[in-house]
Amino acid sequence: MIWLGIDTSNAPLSVAIVKDGQVLIEIVQNLKLTHSVSCMPTIEEALKKANLKPADIDGIAVSEGPGSYTGLRIGVTIAKTLAWTLKKPLVGVSSLKSLASNAIYSGTICAMFDARRGNVYAAAFQGDELTPVIPEQHVSLQELLEKLETFNEPIMFVGIDAQKFEEEIRAKLGDKAKFSPASLNLPRASKLIELAEKEPLPALDTIHHFVPKYHRISEAEANWIKEQKKGQ
Protein backbone atom coordinates (compact mmCIF):
# COMPACT_ATOMS: atom_id res chain seq x y z
CA MET A 1 0.00 0.00 0.00
CA ILE A 2 1.32 3.43 -0.99
CA TRP A 3 0.47 6.31 1.32
CA LEU A 4 0.78 10.03 0.74
CA GLY A 5 0.94 12.09 3.96
CA ILE A 6 0.39 15.85 4.12
CA ASP A 7 0.80 18.17 7.12
CA THR A 8 0.22 21.91 6.70
CA SER A 9 -1.55 22.38 10.03
CA ASN A 10 0.93 24.95 11.31
CA ALA A 11 3.92 26.91 9.98
CA PRO A 12 6.08 23.85 9.10
CA LEU A 13 5.28 21.72 6.05
CA SER A 14 5.74 17.99 5.74
CA VAL A 15 4.99 15.60 2.90
CA ALA A 16 5.87 11.90 2.89
CA ILE A 17 5.36 8.79 0.82
CA VAL A 18 5.35 5.45 2.62
CA LYS A 19 5.18 2.17 0.73
CA ASP A 20 4.38 -1.03 2.63
CA GLY A 21 5.74 0.36 5.88
CA GLN A 22 8.90 1.82 4.30
CA VAL A 23 9.41 5.57 4.13
CA LEU A 24 10.35 6.25 0.49
CA ILE A 25 10.68 10.00 0.87
CA GLU A 26 9.90 12.56 3.49
CA ILE A 27 10.19 16.32 3.17
CA VAL A 28 10.08 18.43 6.33
CA GLN A 29 10.57 22.16 6.20
CA ASN A 30 10.29 25.00 8.65
CA LEU A 31 10.83 27.94 6.32
CA LYS A 32 7.64 29.90 7.00
CA LEU A 33 6.73 29.68 3.32
CA THR A 34 3.11 30.00 2.25
CA HIS A 35 1.61 26.51 2.13
CA SER A 36 -0.41 27.39 -0.97
CA VAL A 37 2.85 28.12 -2.79
CA SER A 38 4.88 25.16 -1.52
CA CYS A 39 2.52 22.29 -0.73
CA MET A 40 1.50 21.08 -4.22
CA PRO A 41 5.02 21.50 -5.70
CA THR A 42 6.37 19.50 -2.73
CA ILE A 43 3.85 16.70 -3.35
CA GLU A 44 4.81 16.73 -7.03
CA GLU A 45 8.51 16.58 -6.15
CA ALA A 46 8.03 13.71 -3.67
CA LEU A 47 6.07 11.59 -6.16
CA LYS A 48 8.52 12.35 -8.96
CA LYS A 49 11.52 11.34 -6.85
CA ALA A 50 9.74 8.17 -5.77
CA ASN A 51 8.98 7.52 -9.44
CA LEU A 52 5.24 7.38 -8.80
CA LYS A 53 2.20 8.84 -10.52
CA PRO A 54 -0.77 10.35 -8.63
CA ALA A 55 -2.88 7.30 -9.56
CA ASP A 56 -0.35 5.02 -7.79
CA ILE A 57 -1.38 6.44 -4.40
CA ASP A 58 -3.55 3.99 -2.41
CA GLY A 59 -4.38 6.18 0.58
CA ILE A 60 -3.98 9.72 1.83
CA ALA A 61 -3.30 10.82 5.41
CA VAL A 62 -3.77 14.45 6.32
CA SER A 63 -3.27 16.45 9.46
CA GLU A 64 -6.83 17.45 10.37
CA GLY A 65 -6.00 19.96 13.11
CA PRO A 66 -5.90 21.76 15.34
CA GLY A 67 -3.69 24.50 13.96
CA SER A 68 -3.74 27.57 11.75
CA TYR A 69 -7.16 27.84 10.08
CA THR A 70 -5.72 28.72 6.69
CA GLY A 71 -2.94 26.14 6.93
CA LEU A 72 -5.44 23.42 7.80
CA ARG A 73 -7.71 24.37 4.93
CA ILE A 74 -4.89 24.21 2.38
CA GLY A 75 -3.80 20.72 3.45
CA VAL A 76 -7.33 19.39 3.86
CA THR A 77 -8.53 20.88 0.55
CA ILE A 78 -5.59 19.33 -1.33
CA ALA A 79 -5.97 15.99 0.46
CA LYS A 80 -9.73 15.70 0.00
CA THR A 81 -9.59 16.78 -3.66
CA LEU A 82 -6.84 14.22 -4.39
CA ALA A 83 -8.69 11.50 -2.47
CA TRP A 84 -12.04 12.25 -4.11
CA THR A 85 -10.82 12.50 -7.69
CA LEU A 86 -8.35 9.58 -7.42
CA LYS A 87 -11.04 7.57 -5.56
CA LYS A 88 -8.72 6.66 -2.68
CA PRO A 89 -9.47 6.65 1.07
CA LEU A 90 -8.70 9.71 3.17
CA VAL A 91 -7.70 9.43 6.83
CA GLY A 92 -7.54 12.47 9.11
CA VAL A 93 -5.01 12.43 11.94
CA SER A 94 -4.74 14.80 14.87
CA SER A 95 -1.90 17.26 14.38
CA LEU A 96 -1.18 17.12 18.12
CA LYS A 97 -1.10 13.34 18.32
CA SER A 98 1.16 13.19 15.28
CA LEU A 99 3.56 15.68 16.85
CA ALA A 100 3.46 13.83 20.21
CA SER A 101 4.36 10.59 18.46
CA ASN A 102 7.72 12.19 17.57
CA ALA A 103 8.77 12.16 21.23
CA ILE A 104 10.76 9.19 22.40
CA TYR A 105 9.50 9.07 25.96
CA SER A 106 7.62 6.58 28.13
CA GLY A 107 5.90 9.08 30.45
CA THR A 108 3.50 11.95 29.80
CA ILE A 109 3.99 13.84 26.54
CA CYS A 110 2.49 17.28 25.91
CA ALA A 111 2.21 18.62 22.35
CA MET A 112 1.15 22.18 21.68
CA PHE A 113 0.70 24.82 19.02
CA ASP A 114 0.58 28.55 19.62
CA ALA A 115 -3.00 29.80 19.24
CA ARG A 116 -2.05 33.47 19.93
CA ARG A 117 -3.12 35.83 22.71
CA GLY A 118 -1.69 33.59 25.43
CA ASN A 119 -3.61 30.54 24.21
CA VAL A 120 -2.49 27.21 22.83
CA TYR A 121 -3.97 24.16 21.15
CA ALA A 122 -2.67 21.35 23.31
CA ALA A 123 -3.11 17.76 24.46
CA ALA A 124 -1.20 15.37 26.71
CA PHE A 125 -0.73 11.67 26.00
CA GLN A 126 0.58 8.61 27.83
CA GLY A 127 1.75 5.15 26.86
CA ASP A 128 2.66 3.44 23.62
CA GLU A 129 -0.85 3.96 22.21
CA LEU A 130 -0.69 7.67 23.04
CA THR A 131 -3.82 7.60 25.15
CA PRO A 132 -4.98 11.17 25.75
CA VAL A 133 -4.81 12.22 29.40
CA ILE A 134 -5.58 15.85 28.58
CA PRO A 135 -7.87 15.88 25.55
CA GLU A 136 -7.18 18.19 22.62
CA GLN A 137 -8.33 21.67 23.38
CA HIS A 138 -7.98 25.38 22.86
CA VAL A 139 -6.82 26.63 26.26
CA SER A 140 -4.77 29.39 27.85
CA LEU A 141 -1.16 28.35 28.37
CA GLN A 142 -1.48 29.10 32.10
CA GLU A 143 -4.56 26.90 32.51
CA LEU A 144 -2.83 24.08 30.65
CA LEU A 145 0.23 24.35 32.88
CA GLU A 146 -1.94 24.28 35.99
CA LYS A 147 -3.48 21.01 34.80
CA LEU A 148 -0.06 19.55 34.04
CA GLU A 149 1.22 20.61 37.47
CA THR A 150 -1.22 18.18 39.13
CA PHE A 151 0.42 15.26 37.33
CA ASN A 152 3.32 15.32 39.78
CA GLU A 153 5.70 13.74 37.29
CA PRO A 154 8.01 14.92 34.55
CA ILE A 155 6.33 16.03 31.33
CA MET A 156 7.98 15.85 27.92
CA PHE A 157 7.12 18.88 25.79
CA VAL A 158 7.35 18.56 22.06
CA GLY A 159 7.01 21.05 19.21
CA ILE A 160 8.60 24.32 18.15
CA ASP A 161 5.88 26.27 19.92
CA ALA A 162 6.59 24.46 23.21
CA GLN A 163 10.20 25.50 22.71
CA LYS A 164 9.02 29.07 22.20
CA PHE A 165 7.18 29.00 25.55
CA GLU A 166 10.04 27.28 27.40
CA GLU A 167 10.44 30.15 29.84
CA GLU A 168 6.76 30.23 30.85
CA ILE A 169 6.64 26.43 31.10
CA ARG A 170 9.75 26.24 33.29
CA ALA A 171 8.48 29.07 35.50
CA LYS A 172 5.47 26.93 36.37
CA LEU A 173 6.76 23.36 36.26
CA GLY A 174 10.46 23.86 37.05
CA ASP A 175 12.58 20.73 36.65
CA LYS A 176 9.54 18.60 35.85
CA ALA A 177 9.47 20.15 32.37
CA LYS A 178 11.55 18.31 29.80
CA PHE A 179 11.96 19.41 26.19
CA SER A 180 12.43 17.34 23.07
CA PRO A 181 15.52 18.12 20.97
CA ALA A 182 15.00 20.37 17.93
CA SER A 183 15.22 17.40 15.55
CA LEU A 184 11.94 16.00 16.98
CA ASN A 185 10.05 19.27 17.14
CA LEU A 186 8.64 19.44 13.61
CA PRO A 187 5.59 17.51 12.41
CA ARG A 188 6.51 14.59 10.15
CA ALA A 189 4.13 13.28 7.56
CA SER A 190 5.58 9.76 7.94
CA LYS A 191 4.34 9.79 11.56
CA LEU A 192 0.96 10.92 10.29
CA ILE A 193 0.86 7.89 8.00
CA GLU A 194 2.00 5.60 10.83
CA LEU A 195 -1.00 6.73 12.89
CA ALA A 196 -3.35 6.61 9.91
CA GLU A 197 -2.40 2.99 9.25
CA LYS A 198 -3.76 2.04 12.68
CA GLU A 199 -7.20 3.34 11.74
CA PRO A 200 -9.77 1.49 9.68
CA LEU A 201 -9.95 2.97 6.16
CA PRO A 202 -13.01 5.24 5.87
CA ALA A 203 -15.46 4.70 3.01
CA LEU A 204 -14.98 6.88 -0.09
CA ASP A 205 -18.33 8.59 0.38
CA THR A 206 -17.04 10.24 3.58
CA ILE A 207 -14.49 12.31 1.63
CA HIS A 208 -16.95 15.03 0.57
CA HIS A 209 -17.77 15.76 4.20
CA PHE A 210 -14.23 15.79 5.49
CA VAL A 211 -13.41 19.13 7.15
CA PRO A 212 -10.63 20.36 9.42
CA LYS A 213 -11.02 20.08 13.19
CA TYR A 214 -10.66 23.72 14.07
CA HIS A 215 -11.49 23.21 17.78
CA ARG A 216 -12.96 26.71 17.80
CA ILE A 217 -15.94 28.30 16.16
CA SER A 218 -15.20 31.57 14.40
CA GLU A 219 -15.37 34.80 16.36
CA ALA A 220 -18.35 36.04 14.32
CA GLU A 221 -20.30 32.89 15.13
CA ALA A 222 -19.42 33.04 18.83
CA ASN A 223 -20.71 36.62 18.96
CA TRP A 224 -23.83 35.67 17.05
CA ILE A 225 -24.60 32.83 19.50
CA LYS A 226 -24.08 35.23 22.41
CA GLU A 227 -26.56 37.65 20.83
CA GLN A 228 -29.12 34.88 20.34
CA LYS A 229 -28.84 33.84 24.00
CA LYS A 230 -29.27 37.44 25.13
CA GLY A 231 -32.44 37.65 23.10
CA GLN A 232 -34.01 34.62 24.76
Binding site: T77, I78, T81
Partner: protein
Amino acid sequence: MENLILAIETSCDETAASVIKNGTEILSNVVASQIESQKRFGGVVPEIASRHHVEQITIVIEEALEKANIEPSDLNAVAVTEGPGLVGALLVGINAAKAFAFSHGLPIIGVHHIAGHIYASSLVEPMQFPLLALVVSGGHTELVYMKEHGSFEVIGETRDDAAGEAYDKVARVLNMPYPGGPHIDRLAHEAEKGVEFPRAWLEENSYDFSFSGLKSAVINYKHNMEQRGEEIVPEEVAKGFQDSVVEVLTTKTVKAAKELNVKQVIVAGGVSANRGLRESLSEALAKEGIPFVAPPLHLCTDNAAMIGACAAYMYEAGVRGDLSMNGLPGKELKSWARS
Protein backbone atom coordinates in the same frame (compact mmCIF):
# COMPACT_ATOMS: atom_id res chain seq x y z
CA MET B 1 -11.57 27.47 -30.80
CA GLU B 2 -12.02 24.00 -29.42
CA ASN B 3 -11.51 23.27 -25.76
CA LEU B 4 -13.19 21.90 -22.66
CA ILE B 5 -12.50 23.59 -19.37
CA LEU B 6 -13.40 22.86 -15.75
CA ALA B 7 -13.64 26.17 -13.91
CA ILE B 8 -13.74 26.83 -10.16
CA GLU B 9 -14.64 30.06 -8.38
CA THR B 10 -14.47 30.66 -4.58
CA SER B 11 -13.44 34.30 -4.31
CA CYS B 12 -16.23 35.34 -1.92
CA ASP B 13 -19.27 33.51 -0.60
CA GLU B 14 -20.29 31.26 -3.52
CA THR B 15 -18.65 27.89 -4.07
CA ALA B 16 -18.94 27.37 -7.81
CA ALA B 17 -17.79 25.00 -10.54
CA SER B 18 -18.63 24.79 -14.22
CA VAL B 19 -17.68 23.00 -17.41
CA ILE B 20 -17.40 25.24 -20.47
CA LYS B 21 -17.05 24.10 -24.05
CA ASN B 22 -15.24 26.27 -26.61
CA GLY B 23 -15.58 29.36 -24.43
CA THR B 24 -19.23 29.78 -25.33
CA GLU B 25 -21.26 26.74 -24.34
CA ILE B 26 -22.21 26.06 -20.70
CA LEU B 27 -22.29 22.30 -20.09
CA SER B 28 -22.83 22.80 -16.36
CA ASN B 29 -22.87 25.70 -13.93
CA VAL B 30 -23.15 24.77 -10.24
CA VAL B 31 -23.27 27.37 -7.47
CA ALA B 32 -23.55 26.61 -3.75
CA SER B 33 -24.50 29.86 -2.09
CA GLN B 34 -23.77 30.73 1.52
CA ILE B 35 -26.25 33.58 1.70
CA GLU B 36 -28.45 31.77 4.25
CA SER B 37 -25.48 31.31 6.59
CA GLN B 38 -23.94 34.75 6.03
CA LYS B 39 -27.29 36.53 6.51
CA ARG B 40 -26.88 36.04 10.28
CA PHE B 41 -23.94 38.40 10.26
CA GLY B 42 -25.34 41.06 7.91
CA GLY B 43 -22.48 40.52 5.48
CA VAL B 44 -19.80 38.07 4.45
CA VAL B 45 -17.53 36.92 7.29
CA PRO B 46 -14.29 35.75 5.64
CA GLU B 47 -13.55 32.91 8.09
CA ILE B 48 -17.09 31.53 7.74
CA ALA B 49 -16.87 31.80 3.95
CA SER B 50 -13.62 29.83 3.91
CA ARG B 51 -15.07 27.11 6.14
CA HIS B 52 -18.12 26.68 3.91
CA HIS B 53 -15.91 26.44 0.82
CA VAL B 54 -14.02 23.47 2.30
CA GLU B 55 -17.36 21.77 3.08
CA GLN B 56 -18.68 22.27 -0.45
CA ILE B 57 -15.74 22.24 -2.82
CA THR B 58 -15.53 18.60 -3.93
CA ILE B 59 -19.32 18.22 -3.94
CA VAL B 60 -19.70 21.19 -6.27
CA ILE B 61 -16.91 20.07 -8.63
CA GLU B 62 -18.36 16.55 -8.80
CA GLU B 63 -21.80 17.90 -9.60
CA ALA B 64 -20.39 20.12 -12.36
CA LEU B 65 -18.61 17.17 -13.98
CA GLU B 66 -21.64 14.88 -13.64
CA LYS B 67 -24.11 17.41 -15.04
CA ALA B 68 -21.78 18.02 -17.99
CA ASN B 69 -21.32 14.27 -18.36
CA ILE B 70 -17.57 14.77 -18.58
CA GLU B 71 -14.66 12.63 -17.40
CA PRO B 72 -11.47 14.35 -16.20
CA SER B 73 -9.65 12.85 -19.21
CA ASP B 74 -11.98 14.80 -21.57
CA LEU B 75 -10.78 18.14 -20.20
CA ASN B 76 -8.11 20.42 -21.68
CA ALA B 77 -7.46 22.52 -18.58
CA VAL B 78 -8.60 23.49 -15.10
CA ALA B 79 -9.29 27.19 -14.49
CA VAL B 80 -9.64 28.91 -11.15
CA THR B 81 -10.15 32.43 -9.83
CA GLU B 82 -6.74 33.59 -8.61
CA GLY B 83 -7.97 36.97 -7.32
CA PRO B 84 -9.05 39.51 -6.33
CA GLY B 85 -11.22 38.31 -3.46
CA LEU B 86 -11.04 37.07 0.13
CA VAL B 87 -7.68 35.35 0.41
CA GLY B 88 -8.83 32.47 2.63
CA ALA B 89 -11.75 31.82 0.31
CA LEU B 90 -9.61 32.00 -2.85
CA LEU B 91 -7.12 29.50 -1.39
CA VAL B 92 -9.73 26.74 -1.16
CA GLY B 93 -10.64 26.95 -4.84
CA ILE B 94 -7.03 27.34 -5.92
CA ASN B 95 -5.75 24.35 -3.97
CA ALA B 96 -8.63 22.17 -5.07
CA ALA B 97 -7.96 23.21 -8.68
CA LYS B 98 -4.26 22.45 -8.36
CA ALA B 99 -4.85 19.05 -6.74
CA PHE B 100 -7.41 18.14 -9.41
CA ALA B 101 -5.21 19.35 -12.29
CA PHE B 102 -2.19 17.51 -10.88
CA SER B 103 -4.16 14.27 -10.43
CA HIS B 104 -5.10 14.24 -14.11
CA GLY B 105 -2.03 15.85 -15.67
CA LEU B 106 -3.97 18.94 -16.77
CA PRO B 107 -2.66 22.48 -17.11
CA ILE B 108 -3.99 25.07 -14.68
CA ILE B 109 -5.04 28.61 -15.55
CA GLY B 110 -5.42 31.41 -12.98
CA VAL B 111 -8.21 33.80 -13.93
CA HIS B 112 -8.83 37.36 -12.78
CA HIS B 113 -12.27 37.61 -11.17
CA ILE B 114 -13.20 40.81 -12.99
CA ALA B 115 -11.99 39.48 -16.34
CA GLY B 116 -14.31 36.56 -15.61
CA HIS B 117 -17.28 38.87 -15.00
CA ILE B 118 -16.62 40.61 -18.31
CA TYR B 119 -16.33 37.31 -20.20
CA ALA B 120 -19.74 36.22 -18.88
CA SER B 121 -21.03 38.23 -21.84
CA SER B 122 -19.29 35.91 -24.32
CA LEU B 123 -21.62 33.14 -23.07
CA VAL B 124 -24.49 35.25 -24.40
CA GLU B 125 -23.09 36.69 -27.63
CA PRO B 126 -19.66 37.17 -29.20
CA MET B 127 -17.60 40.07 -27.95
CA GLN B 128 -17.18 42.94 -30.47
CA PHE B 129 -13.97 44.93 -30.12
CA PRO B 130 -13.19 47.50 -29.07
CA LEU B 131 -15.63 47.22 -26.20
CA LEU B 132 -16.33 48.89 -22.90
CA ALA B 133 -17.34 46.93 -19.81
CA LEU B 134 -18.99 48.41 -16.75
CA VAL B 135 -18.23 46.05 -13.85
CA VAL B 136 -20.38 46.68 -10.78
CA SER B 137 -20.46 44.38 -7.77
CA GLY B 138 -20.10 44.30 -3.99
CA GLY B 139 -16.36 44.73 -4.30
CA HIS B 140 -15.87 46.52 -7.62
CA THR B 141 -17.00 49.46 -9.71
CA GLU B 142 -14.88 49.76 -12.81
CA LEU B 143 -15.00 50.86 -16.42
CA VAL B 144 -12.76 48.59 -18.49
CA TYR B 145 -11.76 49.19 -22.10
CA MET B 146 -10.83 46.17 -24.22
CA LYS B 147 -9.34 46.60 -27.69
CA GLU B 148 -9.08 42.82 -28.20
CA HIS B 149 -9.27 39.53 -26.28
CA GLY B 150 -7.04 39.59 -23.22
CA SER B 151 -6.44 43.33 -23.32
CA PHE B 152 -7.77 45.26 -20.33
CA GLU B 153 -7.45 48.94 -19.59
CA VAL B 154 -9.17 50.25 -16.47
CA ILE B 155 -10.24 53.77 -17.45
CA GLY B 156 -12.26 54.47 -14.33
CA GLU B 157 -12.86 52.96 -10.90
CA THR B 158 -14.36 53.80 -7.56
CA ARG B 159 -12.30 55.90 -5.21
CA ASP B 160 -14.09 54.65 -2.11
CA ASP B 161 -17.07 52.29 -1.79
CA ALA B 162 -18.02 49.88 -4.55
CA ALA B 163 -21.56 50.39 -5.84
CA GLY B 164 -22.73 47.11 -4.28
CA GLU B 165 -21.15 48.04 -0.98
CA ALA B 166 -23.11 51.30 -0.98
CA TYR B 167 -26.29 49.34 -1.72
CA ASP B 168 -25.67 47.02 1.23
CA LYS B 169 -24.93 49.90 3.59
CA VAL B 170 -27.99 51.89 2.56
CA ALA B 171 -30.09 48.73 2.88
CA ARG B 172 -28.88 48.44 6.47
CA VAL B 173 -29.89 52.06 7.13
CA LEU B 174 -33.37 51.12 5.86
CA ASN B 175 -33.37 47.95 8.01
CA MET B 176 -33.38 45.65 5.00
CA PRO B 177 -31.75 42.24 5.31
CA TYR B 178 -28.44 41.30 3.65
CA PRO B 179 -27.81 41.29 0.72
CA GLY B 180 -29.46 44.67 0.31
CA GLY B 181 -29.22 45.33 -3.43
CA PRO B 182 -32.34 43.45 -4.56
CA HIS B 183 -34.42 45.00 -1.75
CA ILE B 184 -33.42 48.54 -2.67
CA ASP B 185 -34.13 47.82 -6.33
CA ARG B 186 -37.59 46.48 -5.46
CA LEU B 187 -38.43 49.38 -3.11
CA ALA B 188 -37.20 51.92 -5.65
CA HIS B 189 -39.65 50.57 -8.20
CA GLU B 190 -42.53 51.04 -5.74
CA ALA B 191 -41.99 54.79 -5.29
CA GLU B 192 -43.49 57.57 -7.41
CA LYS B 193 -40.76 60.07 -6.63
CA GLY B 194 -37.40 59.78 -4.94
CA VAL B 195 -35.71 61.85 -2.27
CA GLU B 196 -33.24 64.24 -3.90
CA PHE B 197 -29.69 63.03 -3.21
CA PRO B 198 -26.45 64.41 -4.72
CA ARG B 199 -24.58 62.91 -7.70
CA ALA B 200 -20.81 62.49 -7.43
CA TRP B 201 -19.50 63.52 -10.85
CA LEU B 202 -15.91 64.20 -9.68
CA GLU B 203 -13.62 66.06 -12.12
CA GLU B 204 -15.01 66.79 -15.56
CA ASN B 205 -12.88 64.31 -17.49
CA SER B 206 -12.75 61.59 -14.88
CA TYR B 207 -14.39 58.21 -15.35
CA ASP B 208 -13.85 57.46 -11.66
CA PHE B 209 -16.71 56.94 -9.25
CA SER B 210 -17.41 57.76 -5.62
CA PHE B 211 -20.32 56.48 -3.57
CA SER B 212 -19.37 57.18 0.04
CA GLY B 213 -20.72 60.75 -0.10
CA LEU B 214 -24.06 59.48 -1.35
CA LYS B 215 -24.17 56.88 1.39
CA SER B 216 -23.49 59.61 4.00
CA ALA B 217 -26.21 61.76 2.47
CA VAL B 218 -28.72 58.94 2.96
CA ILE B 219 -27.65 58.46 6.58
CA ASN B 220 -27.83 62.22 7.27
CA TYR B 221 -31.26 62.43 5.68
CA LYS B 222 -32.54 59.69 7.97
CA HIS B 223 -31.03 61.38 11.06
CA ASN B 224 -32.45 64.77 10.18
CA MET B 225 -35.89 63.33 9.62
CA GLU B 226 -35.73 61.44 12.92
CA GLN B 227 -34.68 64.58 14.78
CA ARG B 228 -37.65 66.42 13.33
CA GLY B 229 -39.83 63.53 14.44
CA GLU B 230 -40.77 62.70 10.86
CA GLU B 231 -41.05 59.23 9.36
CA ILE B 232 -38.94 58.44 6.32
CA VAL B 233 -40.55 56.70 3.38
CA PRO B 234 -38.18 53.79 2.63
CA GLU B 235 -39.42 53.51 -0.97
CA GLU B 236 -38.62 57.16 -1.64
CA VAL B 237 -35.20 56.91 -0.01
CA ALA B 238 -34.43 53.76 -2.04
CA LYS B 239 -35.52 55.43 -5.25
CA GLY B 240 -33.55 58.59 -4.52
CA PHE B 241 -30.43 56.56 -3.80
CA GLN B 242 -30.84 54.26 -6.79
CA ASP B 243 -31.55 57.16 -9.14
CA SER B 244 -28.30 58.80 -8.10
CA VAL B 245 -26.20 55.63 -8.51
CA VAL B 246 -27.80 54.70 -11.82
CA GLU B 247 -27.57 58.17 -13.32
CA VAL B 248 -23.84 58.48 -12.56
CA LEU B 249 -23.06 54.95 -13.80
CA THR B 250 -25.09 55.41 -16.98
CA THR B 251 -23.84 58.88 -17.84
CA LYS B 252 -20.17 57.98 -17.40
CA THR B 253 -20.54 54.70 -19.28
CA VAL B 254 -22.27 56.34 -22.26
CA LYS B 255 -19.77 59.20 -22.33
CA ALA B 256 -16.82 56.78 -22.35
CA ALA B 257 -18.46 54.54 -24.94
CA LYS B 258 -18.92 57.49 -27.31
CA GLU B 259 -15.49 58.95 -26.71
CA LEU B 260 -13.74 55.61 -27.26
CA ASN B 261 -15.98 54.74 -30.18
CA VAL B 262 -16.64 51.21 -28.94
CA LYS B 263 -18.62 48.60 -30.85
CA GLN B 264 -20.21 47.07 -27.75
CA VAL B 265 -20.94 47.87 -24.11
CA ILE B 266 -21.10 45.09 -21.53
CA VAL B 267 -22.46 45.32 -18.02
CA ALA B 268 -21.15 42.74 -15.57
CA GLY B 269 -21.00 41.88 -11.87
CA GLY B 270 -23.60 41.31 -9.16
CA VAL B 271 -25.07 44.82 -9.24
CA SER B 272 -25.75 44.44 -12.97
CA ALA B 273 -28.67 42.26 -11.87
CA ASN B 274 -30.24 45.57 -10.80
CA ARG B 275 -33.30 46.30 -12.98
CA GLY B 276 -33.00 50.06 -12.64
CA LEU B 277 -29.42 50.00 -13.91
CA ARG B 278 -30.17 47.62 -16.79
CA GLU B 279 -33.13 49.65 -17.99
CA SER B 280 -31.23 52.91 -17.80
CA LEU B 281 -28.14 51.61 -19.63
CA SER B 282 -30.20 49.85 -22.24
CA GLU B 283 -32.24 52.97 -22.99
CA ALA B 284 -29.31 55.39 -23.04
CA LEU B 285 -27.13 53.16 -25.24
CA ALA B 286 -29.98 52.42 -27.65
CA LYS B 287 -30.39 56.17 -28.11
CA GLU B 288 -26.72 56.36 -29.15
CA GLY B 289 -26.98 53.27 -31.32
CA ILE B 290 -24.35 51.35 -29.34
CA PRO B 291 -24.96 47.58 -28.96
CA PHE B 292 -25.43 46.59 -25.31
CA VAL B 293 -25.02 43.15 -23.69
CA ALA B 294 -26.39 42.37 -20.24
CA PRO B 295 -25.89 38.69 -19.37
CA PRO B 296 -28.77 36.90 -17.61
CA LEU B 297 -28.87 37.35 -13.86
CA HIS B 298 -27.34 33.99 -12.94
CA LEU B 299 -24.26 34.90 -14.97
CA CYS B 300 -23.98 38.34 -13.33
CA THR B 301 -23.61 37.13 -9.75
CA ASP B 302 -20.47 35.15 -8.92
CA ASN B 303 -20.28 31.91 -10.89
CA ALA B 304 -17.67 29.63 -12.42
CA ALA B 305 -19.06 29.63 -15.98
CA MET B 306 -17.68 33.12 -16.50
CA ILE B 307 -14.26 31.96 -15.22
CA GLY B 308 -14.37 29.08 -17.70
CA ALA B 309 -15.36 31.40 -20.57
CA CYS B 310 -12.42 33.69 -19.86
CA ALA B 311 -10.04 30.75 -19.37
CA ALA B 312 -10.99 29.32 -22.77
CA TYR B 313 -9.46 32.38 -24.43
CA MET B 314 -6.47 32.31 -22.09
CA TYR B 315 -5.97 28.63 -22.95
CA GLU B 316 -5.94 29.43 -26.66
CA ALA B 317 -3.44 32.24 -26.03
CA GLY B 318 -1.14 29.79 -24.24
CA VAL B 319 -1.53 31.31 -20.78
CA ARG B 320 -0.66 28.76 -18.05
CA GLY B 321 -0.22 28.82 -14.30
CA ASP B 322 1.63 26.27 -12.20
CA LEU B 323 1.32 24.32 -8.95
CA SER B 324 2.81 27.18 -6.92
CA MET B 325 -0.24 29.36 -7.64
CA ASN B 326 -1.22 31.48 -4.62
CA GLY B 327 -4.34 33.45 -3.78
CA LEU B 328 -3.93 37.08 -4.84
CA PRO B 329 -6.51 39.11 -2.89
CA GLY B 330 -5.44 42.35 -4.59
CA LYS B 331 -4.65 40.95 -8.04
CA GLU B 332 -4.51 43.68 -10.66
CA LEU B 333 -6.45 43.43 -13.89
CA LYS B 334 -3.65 43.12 -16.43
CA SER B 335 -3.67 42.10 -20.06
CA TRP B 336 -2.52 38.56 -20.66
CA ALA B 337 0.47 38.06 -22.91
CA ARG B 338 0.17 35.75 -25.88
CA SER B 339 2.81 33.05 -26.06
